[in-house]
């Protein structure tokens, strides 16, 4: 390399400004998308929408906990227990039983995997850009939600695993978990105040994540119309609020007895 010119010496041009990451060798088209940060954000936004769809659907489904006992085929049963069965029967003439549910599950797992991997690799990239100030920074626009995405995300992931272990797999020994007994399992688990508090805190974190995520996703996808941009904030706040109120209501309702499990109500209609 030629010796630096006088100007370069003074301005430091050509000095230390090396790329923080080399440009990768290009993969063929759809994969090349995932090699760039803008593309990864796009993937995060699309998978974020899928996860959001799941979270909303899951919350609405759980509202059946409030419906309590209903009559079905001459038997009194808890409505959520039937609902869980119904999910396994989704699109049954088209797909064998539970197949469609598994298809949705695989989609969700893939969405989670991509979302988390993109979050991880972009976080690595951003940490490498090292912009730590020695003096105190003053934040003008960044809010708690936007600055804590990676932490709220990790908390949501940890909660997700706990939640599956608790109610899907029945690994928490203190609750006598039984497959298919949704109402009983939920009530048994959430009537423990410690578990209820875990659910409440985790769902507050989820709402915080969604509050920034929904706004951010529009920008990442390039959905921007100055006339309607304010609506993106309202939508983010609205969705976060709906999910927050819905999900946090379950542990509270169990603790206050609004949702309970009483086996004497079940059985054949006399």
């Amino acid at each position: 390399m030629a010796a630096p010119t006088a100007t370069e010496k003074v301005t430091g041009a050509n000095s230390a400004t090396r790329p923080i990451r080399p440009r990768p060798k290009r993969l063929p088209f759809p994969l090349s998308l995932y090699q760039t940060a803008v593309g990864k954000k796009w993937v995060m936004a699309v998978t974020g929408i899928a996860l959001l769809g799941f979270v909303l659907f899951h919350m609405f489904g759980n509202l059946k906990l409030y419906l309590g006992v209903i009559e079905e085929n001459g038997e009194r049963v808890y409505d959520v227990d039937i609902y869980a069965e119904y999910l396994r029967d989704l699109l049954v003439p088209l797909f064998p039983r539970t197949w469609f549910l598994w298809l949705l599950r695989f989609g969700l797992i893939a969405a989670f995997g991509l979302h988390i991997h993109a979050a991880y690799s972009l976080t690595r990239l951003n940490l490498a850009t090292n912009n730590a100030y020695e003096s105190k920074r003053d934040w003008l626009a960044a809010n708690f939600a936007s600055r804590s995405m990676r932490y709220t995300g990790v908390i949501v992931l940890a909660y997700l695993i706990f939640h599956l272990a608790d109610l899907t797999w029945g690994w928490i020994p203190s609750t006598d978990w039984e497959r298919g007994e949704v109402q009983a399992n939920v009530v048994n688990s959430l009537s423990n105040p410690v578990v209820a508090i875990i659910y409440i805190v985790a769902n507050v974190m989820l709402a915080v994540h969604i509050f920034h995520g929904v706004y951010s996703m529009f920008q990442s996808l390039g959905i921007n119309n100055p006339r309607y941009n304010q609506l993106r904030r309202y939508l983010a706040a609205g969705l976060a609020a709906v999910i927050l109120v819905g999900n946090v209501s379950f542990p509270i309702a169990v603790l206050t007895g609004l949702i309970d499990y009483d086996p004497s109500l079940l059985g054949p209609v006399s």
Binding site: T11, G12, A13, N14, S15, A16, T17, P19, I20, R21, P22, R23, P28, F29, S32, L33, T36, A37, V38, G39, K40, K41, W42, L122, L125, N126, A128, T129, N130, N131, A132, Y133, E134, S135, K136, R137, D138, W139, L140, A141, A142, S146, R147, M149, H212, Y215, S216, F218, Q219, S220, L221, G222, I223, N224, P226, N229
Partner: protein, 257 residues
């Protein structure tokens, strides 16, 4: 009549790129409140020279808010507390007597310190270079309305073209992302009829060059707050949109993969 201010400065001093830096405290007494921020630094530097010390190096050129050379963190804010104002346009009347002012250079891995408050912003030039050339015929002025440009498009392009390339957006960004700068440069050309020929090639090249130096945008919005030209983050969304299109479009052209 101007009032005089007595201030305390806490300034980042660093003798060279590899040297360790630190904050050094200087008194700045008798500063007229109609001085600009850079004039205040000039006065402090005169004092320092008289005392046989090295003056504080700070970036500056036009001092009228149009060149983008100046720019430091002032009390934790890029270009100081005034919205839409470059450091050279910040005036001392915005400070009060007795204030302590902390002055730090832009921080980003892509902006290494050259000396004191001066950083090397050449990665921004690399992004511009990646955009390629434009044809700007010299000679007589082109006829008005030879190329029709709708008023709204001209306004939007002009808003983007207001970027002076100071790097405050990068400095203010917790991720050191250069999205605001790059998207402003892109939209200034991509929105105009003259910019269509190379639109998607340019977008791909500039975005990918940007990514090799800077972080990834997480839509905090600190950039617009810091920007002396109040460039809107809407351009970032336009850039994201054009980039996704470019991945498809550039590959549709014959012979490309």
């Amino acid at each position: 009549m101007s009032t005089k201010l007595n201030l305390t400065l806490s300034v980042w001093r660093q003798p060279g790129p590899e040297a360790r830096g630190q904050f050094v405290t200087y008194p700045a007494n008798g500063i007229p409140d109609d001085a600009s921020f850079l004039e205040m630094l000039d006065m402090v530097n005169e004092q320092l020279i008289e005392q046989g010390e090295l003056p504080i190096e700070f970036p500056h050129d036009c001092r009228e808010g149009i060149c983008g050379t100046c720019g430091v963190m002032i009390n934790g804010r890029a270009h100081g507390q005034e919205r839409g104002t470059a450091t050279c346009q910040l005036h001392m009347r915005k400070f009060s007597d007795g204030d302590t002012i902390v002055i730090e250079p832009w921080r980003a891995a892509a902006f290494p310190v050259v000396r004191d408050l001066v950083v090397d912003r050449s990665p921004l030039d690399k992004i511009i270079e990646a955009g390629g050339f434009i044809s700007a015929p010299t000679g007589t002025a082109p006829d008005a309305n030879e190329i029709p440009v709708p008023k709204e498009v001209a306004d939007s392009a002009m808003d983007a073209a207001a970027c002076i390339g100071c790097g405050a957006c990068v400095a203010a960004c917790p991720n050191s992302a250069a999205q605001l700068f790059t998207s402003a440069k892109l939209w200034h050309l991509n929105s105009l009829p003259q910019g269509q020929a190379e639109r998607f090639r340019r977008t791909e090249a500039m975005v990918e060059t940007m990514e090799s130096f800077f972080g990834s945008c997480t839509n905090h919005g600190e950039c617009t707050e810091a920007c002396p030209k109040e460039i809107s983050q809407d351009f970032i969304a336009y850039m994201n949109r054009d980039y996704m299109k470019s991945l498809v479009y550039n590959r549709r052209l014959a012979g490309q993969r």
